[in-house]
């Protein structure tokens, strides 16, 4: 339980917090940023073409890692393989078709090569000097990207003269702990870190450590019109890194939108859908694209019956820590960014059905035959007559909820049966099995019961596996594998959901619940 004095401390932080900016100059970074920007400008619309888009995406990603990780510029965790080769290929392409960018490309290549050889990072030097200035164990370092955490921790632990420093992500700041200082790598711009990081501060002193080419200031806007507000964070005691009035100089400042991954979800979903749709097939289901924590994405079915295992970490905002974290089978429609979704590693076959068959024992084979039988006949009817015609016929035969989408759902192997008996009776009439309706319905209910039991078993197993230590790894890394002991060969990977597309696309079942990489798509200019 959080005590009153701890809450008092949090309110004191909010009342007395100040932001101190530490702009760090670095010629290499300024040159790199300038070259990248120039090439993008010279390319114009061509920057969005597949070749140049991919080329720039890699360079933008490296730019982001340089300014957000505080790792040495040549650190293996931020260097991408073949970056210089990539530049050489671009130079060849430019010689043929884009002569006007040849010189700029040559400059970029030499700047990139110089940056990649550097074994230092001025941000790290600034952080180390701040840590040495006031060595205490309650200073924390806030990083934007989880994938940089381990590498930075290693870097800091190699400094023998420093006390151990906490390197955290924004999620850790939801807890009630207060830090004496919070060193923020990157920018105070709300596009870098959520507004609450500064609005509900867990420290009385923010130190924003960022390259001077980066726009780093935060402008606190009230949420309510005419609200009786006092700003939650006072201005810094060393108001450096002011953006100069000189327009030429100010154009050198990098906006957050130029540094951070740009996500045009609708565009990305359409592009991914084109890749995954292929030839129209019967089993296409309505899906939304989910961007996951490790720069991958997945299509998840959004039909009413579509459920996945999800970990709901919402309890942390209630300060009950991880004890009340729940893992449950949730409707895909109810998933939100920040939740974790469990997906099967390797293939996307139904592991719940696999365990349900175990629950059914020797009844499983017959039950599945019956299930497949009526679904197959319904599918044949839909193939011959079309979904619309079949749904109209079902309505004429007494169905309550027959429509094109529901007919697709009923045919799908991922649903067991219609919810209502009247719909099932109509189907059985349509496919000529009216006399067997009661028997088939009873078998479908048995399968349903077995699925529910299997679902509960899996939830329990996952909860057992999700100990507090494994959860902290999951929260930090964004993904973690869980091997289900009772279902052989099934490993589930929990992924943090970062973004969900608003549009629905029809995707073949074979591509649903199958994560794929979108790393480069995220960094397209």
């Amino acid at each position: 339980m959080i005590e009153f004095k701890d809450v008092d401390q949090l309110f004191q932080c909010a009342a007395n917090c100040r932001i101190i900016y530490h702009p760090v100059s670095c010629q290499d970074i300024s040159d790199y940023v300038r070259c990248l920007r120039q090439i993008k400008r010279l390319l114009g619309d061509a920057a969005a073409s597949p070749f140049w888009g991919q080329f720039l995406a890699r360079l933008r990603r490296y730019q982001f890692d340089l300014v957000s990780s505080a790792l040495p510029f040549n650190h293996p965790s931020i260097i991408q393989e073949g970056m210089l080769k990539n530049c050489e290929q671009a130079q060849i392409k430019a010689r043929q078709n884009y002569p006007h960018i040849r010189n700029s490309l040559a400059t970029l290549t030499s700047v990139l090569s110089a940056v990649m050889e550097s074994n230092s990072n001025p941000l790290l030097a600034c952080i180390l000097s701040l840590l040495r200035e006031k060595p205490d164990s309650t200073t924390a370092l806030l990083l934007k990207e989880g994938r940089h955490l381990c590498a930075l921790r290693e870097q800091l632990s190699s400094q023998v003269d420093l006390p151990s420093v906490l390197v955290v992500q924004t999620r850790s700041l939801l807890k009630s702990s207060c830090y004496s200082r919070l060193l923020v790598i990157g920018s105070a711009d709300p596009r870098w870190y959520p507004d609450w990081v500064f609005g509900a501060p867990r420290t009385k002193e923010f130190h924003i450590v960022c390259f001077s080419v980066l726009k780093s200031r935060r402008k606190a806007e009230p949420y309510f019109p005419k609200s009786l507000t006092k700003p939650s964070v006072s201005s810094g005691s060393i108001p450096t890194n002011e953006i100069p009035d000189n327009s030429e100089e100010s154009s050198e400042i990098l906006e957050a939108s130029e540094v951070l991954p740009q996500l045009d979800m609708e565009n990305l979903a359409s592009r991914c859908a084109q890749k995954h749709t292929g030839t129209p097939e019967m089993g296409a289901v309505p899906c939304r694209l989910f961007i996951l924590a490790d720069d991958s994405a997945v299509w998840l079915e959004t039909s009413e019956h579509a459920h996945v295992y999800a970990l709901l970490p919402g309890s942390e905002t209630d300060y009950v820590e991880d004890t009340s974290t729940s893992i449950e089978r949730r409707s895909v429609r109810d998933l939100k960014p920040g939740f974790f979704v469990f997906l099967r590693v390797g293939d996307n076959s139904d592991y719940v059905a696999q365990l349900a068959d175990k629950v059914l024992g020797n009844r499983a084979e017959k039950a599945r035959l019956v299930q497949n039988h009526w679904k197959l006949l319904l599918e044949q009817a839909a193939r011959t007559e079309g979904f619309l015609e079949v749904s109209v016929k079902l309505l004429d035969l007494g169905a309550d909820r027959a429509n094109e989408q529901n007919v697709r759902n009923w045919i799908s192997g991922r649903s067991i049966k219609p919810q209502n008996l009247v719909d099932f009776e109509a189907i059985m009439r349509l496919i000529g099995l009216e006399d067997s309706t009661r028997d088939y319905w009873a078998i479908m209910r048995t399968i349903m019961a077995a699925h529910l039991k299997a679902g509960r078993l899996i939830s329990r197993q996952l909860m057992d596996l999700a100990s507090s230590s494994s959860l902290s790894i999951l929260y930090e890394k964004g993904t973690l594998d869980f091997e289900l002991p009772q279902v052989s060969g099934v490993t589930l990977r929990a992924y943090r959901i970062d973004v969900i597309s608003a549009q629905t696309n029809y995707i073949p079942l074979s591509n649903v619940e199958r994560p794929f990489r979108v790393e480069e798509e995220l960094w397209h200019a």
């Binding site: 009153f4 932080c13 909010a14 939801l174 949420y223 009786l228 209630d318 009950v320």
Partner: protein, 322 residues
């Protein structure tokens, strides 16, 4: 007021911080304010812990002080008459209490009465002026036996004794009044109101207690005792509450989700929304509040609100309701 601050082996009473005093005053201002329209107060806070219990404490304390120990008998009669048959109640006389089940209103010889079953085969009838002895019981289920006698009323506890006058205290202990409902995380809210020690200083002596003594939350008081507030989980069913004829005077919700689920359940009640900056539903809730603000009743005065603590935002307006 004071709170007990424990640091390792040291413990001392410290004055309530400014932010806590502010939230107490918000509850007081809200309940004091009279308007024919619905008062809406939305507050953005850096952390929501203890905010709802403090506001609710302000509501309960101010409400008791405003009634000055007196209850309008006719109003009370009408409230009881509107309740469904079988509602658990208690009868309080002379510091003693017994339980009963509401039978409902009757007219006998032209006189309006309220019946309460106090034993398996016995119904007691109360005139309008006497019905002030009937209060709603905290327990949802009351089992009547063949015999029942009055037994002593639970004491108010030290904290209200220090904060209320004798008349106010008598009314506080002997009658139920649905002053406020807090919608949020039940477990955490119960911990906040029960586990922390607060105090009132009377000369050199501290009157010590928890916020639960002020709030007299329905589930924390014993069976048939009168109560003043209720904590409801955000995810609880709203359908049953809509049908309930008993309405709280103030609704305090402490999440964005709580606001969207519960704001229209008791449209006549004053609404106080506490929105934490870390709440994932913050923007949705803010947009909701702002859209209501733009359709507010423009011609009304508003309650006076003390200067805000830093890091807190507040908006206050009258709304015509649903």
């Amino acid at each position: 007021m004071f709170y007990l601050r424990e640091d390792g082996s040291n413990a001392e009473f410290c004055p309530l911080p400014q932010w806590a005093e502010f939230f107490l005053s918000v509850g007081e201002s809200a309940i004091e304010y009279q308007s024919e329209h619905r008062l809406v107060i939305a507050i953005i806070v850096p952390v929501k812990m203890y905010v709802a219990p403090l506001i609710a404490s302000g509501v309960v304390l101010k409400s008791i002080r405003m009634t000055k120990g007196s209850v309008d008998a006719m109003e009370h009669f009408q409230m009881l008459a509107a309740l469904p048959r079988g509602t658990p109640v208690c009868i309080v006389r002379g510091g003693q209490i017994k339980k009963g089940l509401l039978v409902g209103p009757r007219i006998q010889c032209g006189c309006k009465l309220i019946g309460v079953q106090t034993r398996r085969e016995s119904i007691e009838f109360f005139r309008i002026n006497d019905c002030i002895h009937i209060s709603l019981a905290a327990s949802e289920h009351v089992r009547l036996t063949k015999r029942q006698h009055y037994h002593p009323l639970e004491s108010a506890g030290c904290l209200p004794t220090g904060l209320l006058s004798a008349d106010e205290l008598k009314n506080f202990c002997e009658s139920t009044s649905f002053e406020c409902v807090i919608v949020g995380s039940r477990t955490r809210l119960h911990e906040e109101i029960c586990a922390n020690i607060f105090a009132f200083k009377d000369n050199d002596k501290y009157c010590v207690g928890s916020l639960s003594q002020i709030l007299r939350e329905k589930s924390t008081v014993a069976g048939e005792q009168p109560w003043r507030s209720q904590i409801i989980h955000t995810g609880a069913s709203t359908t049953l509450r809509r049908k309930d004829s008993l309405h709280p005077r103030t609704v305090i919700v402490e999440t964005g989700r709580g606001l969207s689920r519960w704001q229209n359940v008791w449209p006549e009640s004053k609404m106080i929304a506490i929105l934490e900056r870390t709440d994932p539903d913050l923007m949705e809730a803010v947009n909701d509040v702002n859209s209501r603000y733009y359709t507010r009743m423009q011609d009304s005065t508003l309650p006076s609100i003390k200067p805000l603590p830093k890091g807190v935002e507040l908006i206050c307006f009258n709304h015509k309701g649903i």
